[in-house]
Amino acid sequence: MSRLSLEALTLAQGGRTVLENISGTFEDGAITALVGANGAGKSTLIQAIMGLLTPLSGKVNCGVPKERRAWLPQQLALDLTFPMSVEELMLSGCWPTHGTFKRYGPADYRRMHTIMQRLGLSGLAHRPLGELSGGQRQRALLGRTLMQEAELLLLDEPFANVDTHTVEILCDTLREMASAGATVIVVLHDMEQLAQLADCVLLLASGHAQWVEPETLLERHHAPARRHAHTQAPFISLNLPDVPPCSTY
């Protein structure tokens, strides 16, 4: 039984239809890559899944309660001049259980320190957010979703501008969360990361969506004609008719 599915979903933003008639099921415990060109509607779809955008028609069936859904927006969506330490950011992940009033107890601190150790953030507990590197900040934000015990995790380009060490830690952690049963959806551009991480792919292009197997996408990508000669990072083929749909979704 899947906790998250889309039913003939049509989404509009600013008076313009962005995505039309999207259906499908996100498997529990799987990592789904959301792939598409800029403006294809990836962030719009994420907003709809988070319940922040009312669909024009159709619906999002989500069995995960609101407080267990976590969204890591693109970098720099945070106000980094705000005087807050890593510890305070991570503890704000206790919101579902602690809300506005409840005091953070020793157990919460212990849990936080375990998570910080796992993310390679030990020793940075009292460092202000503004002094962190891009990678450390991304790990701290992932730390907050771990504190939140998120069952549905949406990440918008989490690997942009972060070091390889962070990419490794993020990938391992996402894999662990998925193994523990969480539904993970990641917006990705990089083919290597997709190969490493994704169990399935939802391809968005020109207002439509198609579920594809990562292997199919990778095969297409390795065809010489698809390579970007001038960029080092390999990018993904974005034309729907090129890619055969996946049969299972």
Partner: protein, 304 residues
Amino acid sequence: MLDLLTTLNAWLLAPLTDYAFMRRALVGGLALSLAAPPLGVFLMLRGMSLVGDAMAHAVLPGVALGFVLAGFSLPAMSLGGLVAGLLVAGLAGSVSRMTGHREDSAMASFYLISLALGVMLVSLRGSSVDLTHVLFGSILAIDDTALWLIASVASATLLVMALIFRVLVVECLDPLFLRGQGIRGGLVHGVFLGLMVLNLTAGFQTLGTLMAVGLMMLPATTARFWTQRLEGLIGLAILIAMVSSTGGLLVSYHLGLPSGPCIILVAGIAYLASALCGRHGSLLARVRRRAAPLETDENACKPS
């Protein structure tokens, strides 16, 4: 030694022990100093430092209407100011949400309309002396009613701030997280603006509508030069506000100057001094900047 004590007594204590109006003014100023600076800290951190100023202007037509209807009655003028301030904040908020325009442009428009209305109302009824009083206040004429009003507003502000503190912090840093948790950030924002209007109204009698913002913002912007932690900012801002209130009041007594501007100028001097030689980001700190030593803590940043 005795001479020194006598001089200190004459300068610092005698005005307070001798005159009841000075004691009242001090209590009023200290109460305002407890409540307004924390609001100023959050305004500053949200990049809304000038919104306080806009709201102070917005309060004016309500105060004027109270004055026109009931004469120089503090409760009527305060109530009028409160209603006008909340109205402008509410209208600006809803226009910006409906149109998608930035909130500061909507607020600027409404406060200007409101200010013009206020000046018009005062000129219809009173003389220019009354207008000066409304604009710049008179801390030396605080009666018991005013004191009760200020004390209640200060207590209510601290209580509500304590209640919404965590929401406010998370909302400042990452509003989307809060929305994801099903909390309406707009509501928190509204409560916060309401508190600000309440404090400006309480402050208008003592400092005047325009000077009341000074006690809110200057301590906060000064504290920014000394600490980088939120709790530190709030505590230090309160301390600076209290010292400024007391110092400004004594200066105004001894030199025969108006009290409101004196209090704000003392806070202003603190700001300038901090900008020159504060610990973080001041001129002196820039000149003397040294790099922190490389991390030796083996836990920090070590790949696992």
